[in-house]
Amino acid sequence: MSRNITRQKGEMVTFMLNGAQVQADPNWSLLEAAKFYGLYIPTLCYDEGLTPYGVCRLCVMEVGSGDRTKLVASCMHPVIEGLEVRTHSNRVIKTRKMILELLIARCPGSKKLQDMASMLELKEVRFKPLNDDCILCGLCVRMCEEQMMAKAIGYAGRGTDRYITTPFDMTSEECRKCGACMYICPACELRCQGPEAKTTLCSGCLNTEAVCAAKYDDAMCFMVPCLSCVKRPEDVK
């Protein structure tokens, strides 16, 4: 494989990004390269300061050519000489929307997910909302371990029973209550409670000035108006 070729220090890799020939640092992932070239790639489990984990699968890209193409998690996949990469093919967009639909059905209360739904033009959630508060992206676990050097939290359970907790579900002495886990959590920030907050997708309040801004006044002033607020009600089922 081409990545086994020994290259000179500082030498770049050339590959095809959405039909354009581009160069990238050989140590970059596809996601880093795409971001470098200014493309918006939705991610929920990626953070520049943490080891990529590759679990939300929202950053998928289609690689390969002809009928030999596949989707890869771009945060984990290295840039490879000559690789053909498409960041927004139909297959990619369809996949991203379905994954987001699944995640938003689990955590409809997350502002970050609701904003992303607007960005990706997700207009319908066909699953029963679970009103959970965790999408198991693992950012907090890595934050705690890699940046805070605490390793106070980890995963427990398997499959749909998987959850994040302290060892043996007890208050951990390792935890310094630094709050970094909450800081990095994409699901912690609550969505704007628009006029029909019961729906799984933010229902859109037609105002660019969010209705909630008046309702909560100063209490919620940190909240940037939801992207979904520019949606028209008929856009949401």
Partner: protein, 616 residues
Amino acid sequence: MKLKSIEELEDLRSGIIAKKDPNKTCIAVCGGPGCLARQCLEVRDAFVNEISAKGLADRVDIRTTGCHGFCESGPIALIFPQGIFYQKLGVKDAAEIVEETIMNDRIVDRLLYIDTGTGRRVKKEEDVPFYKKQMRLILRNNSRIDPHNLEDYLAIGGYSALAKVLDGMKPSQVIDEVKKSGLRGRGGGGFPTGRKWESTRDAIGDIKYVICNADEGDPGAFMDRSILEGNPHSVLEGMIIGAYAIGSNEGYVYVRNEYPLALKNVTIAIKQAREAGLLGENILGSEFSFDVKVNRGGGAFVCGESTALMASLEGKPGEPRAKYIHTSEKGLWDRPSNLNNVETWANVPLIINKSPEWYSAIGTGSSKGTKVFSLVGKINNTGLVEVPMGISLREIIYDIGGGIPGGKAFKAVQTGGPSGGCIPESLIDMPVDYEQLTKVGSMMGSGGMIVMDEDTCMVDLARYFTNFLQEESCGKCAPCREGLLRMGEILTDITEGRGRMEDLSLIEDLSGVLKDASLCGLGTTAANPVISTMRYFRDEYVAHIRDHKCPAGVCRELIIYGIDEESCTGCGRCLKNCPSGAIEGEKKQPHVLDTAKCIKCGICYDVCKFDAVRKG
């Protein structure tokens, strides 16, 4: 005794063979898991007692072997040298066999297998239809050796492939032989074994590992288990040869703790091989050193996936990781690692001994050799079968498997374990190989083969396997964890009469995403049972959703019981047995079933002797 050279091994072997009298009577009692469950050890003890009571102890050997494959007929005993096949033995039969066959050379007719086709009794194993069409290269020796006895394995030519390899073959030559043979991984993926070895050999690193994957976790599958239990040395020999070719000095057998016998037998085999100088420093006096450790798995299905298995070996939670950098480059502890499954390893000595040309002559264009399947479900001859690649499903199910019990109609067969697809009757004549199975929406997998008859509801089946996979998913990546949860919800809705037609396209969308975006093989193949049943049995899905009917009469919520006035004789059996008092009626008058009280347990349907209870 430690063997210090190839000559010493051959001397030992000829010594063993010379000591053995080929005409000495031997009773080989199957000690495989199927027979164990039917008290085969008691049968063996009965033989031992009987033989010593008759004073025949020095004239007759009694051997407890691994699985013979024909589990339906267990416990099984083979009488050598005649090769008489006795089946369905009980403790009481031992005395008669010793008296008649061993002492007076007469056959005990009632213990022979009856050929269901001809109605005749069959005397020898090879004439039993179940064995006739098989090609038992891997499994054959199971009935001929005691897995706890290294001498038995040496007597049938064991470790001669290793001797051949160490006697002047270069590692690259070994890899070439395996490549030429066309052997592909038997664990599921079907990756060419030789190429895998080569890339591990070529990978940069001083320390390399070879790993044997014995974490077989499919419901109804026991191929690897039986090989490891019945002939552990053949797996070890394959691993030693592989390690030599790859340049590895350290190996692991990852076996699940739920397989106590496999664990015990492979541990004994390793100890014996180490004592004989077949493992350890300077194997058979050569420069090559290699040792194997056994690691017990905790029984997670996902740990059969290579990267999850390696994570588990490292002591971490058994979760897979992205394989964009292959395990042959960065595997166990980030070192080049070669993982093959039990059956793949067991094939290696055969290829070295008999030549790659001989091996590649068996099978089809791209699938070579034989494959072991565990044939289970609605089939007459449940058991382990080993067939050449390219044999048709019909031959496996009807000629070897003896067809469907109770005269029912064949409906589908699921190959490849829980994430395989269901193949309908219209495709039953297709040849079994890697490509064909993938083409029809299933896969080779590790070799599970579940046969289903007309009484199986395909929607319910898809729901069952989806739930199994949902429970066994590690939960790391979003599509697999959330997708399987929702898939299970939708399928449960359909089987309970709450399905909507638009659910079908939602299932298709979900399946596509699972297949495309999941992290590991578990997720990417998890939709196979659903996709394949929707492809071949779409009418059943529609019947559930639109007509609220389960055509196979399995989905309880959709069944309505009733009593046919004309056939009911008023015998009162159903009335007496009904646990919810839903049936009323005078004696000798047609009874009436109150559907409001009915809990749909089906007892009335089962107990009625006049077929008067209707299911609809």
